[in-house]
Subunit: 336 residues, 2 copies
C-alpha cells in the first residue's frame, strides 16, 4: 500500500482533464490529501492548500502522487525534476504512467539515498490468463463512454456508494491508475499485454455468488481510435449484465484528436451493447451518466431530463445530482 496522506501534483498543467488522477484522489479520498503542488503557470486548483514538498512534508504528507495523465504515459523531464525535489524533501513518490519511476536511474538513485519508495501503480499483475469468455455467475455492471475521461470512474464510485447506502453489496473494480490509487487495488487494463485484456478483466471480476454487484470501471471508448482495443477487450472480459453510458456534453471532439467527432449517445450505446452481447447476450443498458461540470445546475437538470426522455433511460450526473435513478433502474431490472 502507498503511504498516505498525499501531496497531489498539478505541476505546470493547464489541462483540467489531464490532472484527473490528482482530481480523483481529491474527490474520493479527500481526507488523505494534505495539499496540492502546482507551479505558478498552472491555473488549476483542487481547492486544497497549495504546498511545496517541504511544506507538505511538514504538514504530514508522506507521498507525492504524480497524478497527471498524458497520452502515452511518458515521464517528462519536468516530472522527473519535481519528483527529485519531492524525494529530497523526504516524500515517497507514486505514479501511474506507462514509463515507470523504477526505470529512471536518477529517481532510483535518489530514492535509495533518501530512503523513500517509488510506487508504479500501472504494473499489471503477473501470470495473467487469456480470457475464455465462459459464462460466470454474478451481477456485473460496466461503465462505458463516448470518449476517454468523461466520468466513467466517478459514475462507478458514486453508484457503489448509492447501492451501499441502500444496504446492497457492491464492489468497485478499478481498471485505471486513478481508480487503483483510490481503491488500493485493481488491474491497469491499458497496461497489460494486448492478448490478455479480456483475461485480465475476467480475473479482476471473477464469478460471485453472494448476490452482490461488481461495478467495473470502464476505459476509453469504442469510438476512440487510439484506445478502442482496450475498450473492446474490457467489454468482453467484463461480461456485464448492465451497461452505464457515460458522457461529457461539453466535449467538442474526441480527447486529444480534434479530427474526430464524438459519437451520438444512441450510436455509442448501440455499439457497446452489440460488442457486449458476444459474451453477455442479455446485457442491457441501465442509464446514462453525464458530467455536467460545465453547466449551471438548472441547465444540468434540464439536460438530464431531456437525455432521459430521448434515450428512454434514467439519466443523471451521479457526482452532482446523485446516482439514485440508476440504482433504481438496476434494482428494477435485476430484481431477484
Amino acid at each position: 500500500m502507498i503511504p498516505a496522506p498525499y501531496l497531489l501534483y498539478l505541476g505546470h498543467s493547464d489541462d483540467s482533464v489531464g490532472i484527473k488522477t490528482s482530481r480523483g484522489l481529491a474527490a474520493f479520498r479527500r481526507d488523505d490529501c494534505v495539499g496540492e503542488w502546482r507551479h505558478d503557470d498552472s491555473p488549476l486548483t483542487l481547492g486544497l492548500p497549495r504546498l511545496d514538498p517541504a511544506a507538505a512534508r511538514a504538514a504530514g504528507a508522506r507521498t507525492l502522487v504524480l497524478g497527471i495523465a498524458n497520452a502515452g504515459g511518458t515521464l517528462a523531464p519536468d516530472l522527473v525534476e519535481d519528483a527529485l525535489a519531492a524525494i529530497a524533501a523526504g516524500l515517497h513518490v507514486a505514479a501511474g504512467l506507462h514509463q515507470r519511476l523504477r526505470d529512471h536511474p536518477r529517481l532510483v538513485a535518489a530514492a535509495a539515498a533518501a530512503g523513500v519508495e517509488l510506487h508504479d501503480v500501472r504494473d499489471p499483475p503477473r501470470d495473467l490468463r487469456v480470457g475464455d469468455g465462459k459464462r460466470r455467475a454474478g451481477k456485473r455492471l460496466l461503465t462505458v463512454g463516448t470518449d476517454c475521461s468523461v466520468g466513467k470512474m466517478y459514475a462507478t464510485l458514486c453508484l457503489r456508494d448509492e447501492l451501499r447506502a441502500r444496504g446492497i453489496t457492491a464492489d468497485f473494480r478499478a481498471t485505471g491508475q486513478t481508480g487503483i490509487l483510490i481503491a488500493g487495488e485493481g488491474v491497469p487494463v491499458d497496461a497489460v499485454v494486448a492478448d490478455f485484456i479480456s483475461g485480465a478483466i475476467e480475473a479482476l471480476a471473477p464469478a460471485r455468488a453472494d448476490d452482490g454487484w461488481d461495478l467495473i470501471e470502464g476505459q476509453g471508448s469504442l469510438f476512440h481510435p487510439s484506445f478502442a482495443g482496450v475498450s473492446t477487450g474490457l467489454l468482453h472480459g467484463a461480461q456485464p449484465a448492465a451497461l452505464l453510458l457515460c458522457h461529457d456534453p461539453s466535449r467538442a471532439h474526441m480527447r486529444g484528436l480534434p479530427h474526430y467527432e464524438l459519437p451520438t449517445l444512441e450510436e455509442c450505446l448501440a455499439a457497446n451493447l452489440a460488442v457486449a452481447r458476444l459474451t453477455s447476450p442479455d446485457v442491457r443498458a441501465v442509464g446514462v451518466a453525464l458530467n455536467t461540470a460545465a453547466l449551471d445546475e438548472a441547465a444540468a437538470r434540464r439536460l438530464c431530463e431531456e437525455t432521459a426522455a430521448r434515450l428512454a433511460l434514467p439519466c443523471t450526473d451521479p457526482y452532482r445530482l446523485g446516482a439514485s435513478p440508476i440504482a433504481d433502474e438496476m434494482l428494477t431490472c435485476f430484481a431477484p
Copy 2:
C-alpha cells in the same frame, strides 16, 4: 536476423493448427527448412525429413524454431527440455511465445555455455506511440477473420505474390510470430501493451506515396472473446482501404472455445466494416479467402463459387487456387 536454415519443431503436438508457425515457415520459406523434429507421439508432418537436433545440425541446420502456438504463449516444460537438447547439439533457438526464452535461466545458461543465440520474436518494438487515427496516404489491405488461425497470413502472403507477379508493388506487413519469422521483420501486435495496439500498426504501415500496397496480416477475430481487443485496435491502426475476409469452413467452433460458435460470413464482414469505418470511412471488402484444406478440390471450387454468389464478392482459396480473383477486384476497385 535469425540464422537459417531451420529445424522446425512439432514436438509432441497432435494439433495441426497449433503448429502453425512451423507450418508457415515450411510453406513460405521451404528452401530454408532442412527438417522437422517430432516425437513418436506426434501424428503430424510437414513433409520434411524427420531429424533430431544432432542430425539436423549435421545436415546444416543452424536454428531450431519452436514453431508452436498455444493460447497464453507459455514455455511448457517439454519445450524447455527440447530446446536444451537443441542447444546441446549446437543449434540456435528461436521462439515466438509470450514467455521469453531469455527469461528462462536454464536456457540462458545453456546457450551461453554452448555459444548459441536465443531469439524471441514476439518482442514489441520500444518507443511505441499511441495511435492518432490521422488519415494517411497509401493503399492498405487488412485480412480479417471469423476466427484465429483461419488463414489470414497465408491469404496475405499469396496476395502479395499475386500482385508482385503482375508488376504491382506490394509489401507484406507481419503482425504475428509466424509472419515475422517469414518476413524477417514486423510487429507482434498481440504482445504490445494494450494502449499501443493501434499505434503499433500505424508505425508498421506508415503513409506511403508510391502507389504500392501495404498488405497487413490480421490477427484474431472481432468474434473471439479472448482476442477481439487486438483485432479492434489492429483494424483502427491499419486504416484499411480494403478488407479481405478469411474463413475456415471446417472450423466447428471458435478456436479453443467450444462454447462459442463462429459468426456467419455476413455478420463478420459487416462488423469488421463497421469498426474499420471509424478510421477509414470508405473502406470496402474485396473478397473472401477460404482455407479449404479439409475439402477435395471439386468441393473447394464449389464452395468458393457458392460463397462468391452469396456475398457478391470474389472468393477463392488463395493458397490452393490462387489469389487472382481478389487481385482483380482490388485493381478494379482502386484503379487510379
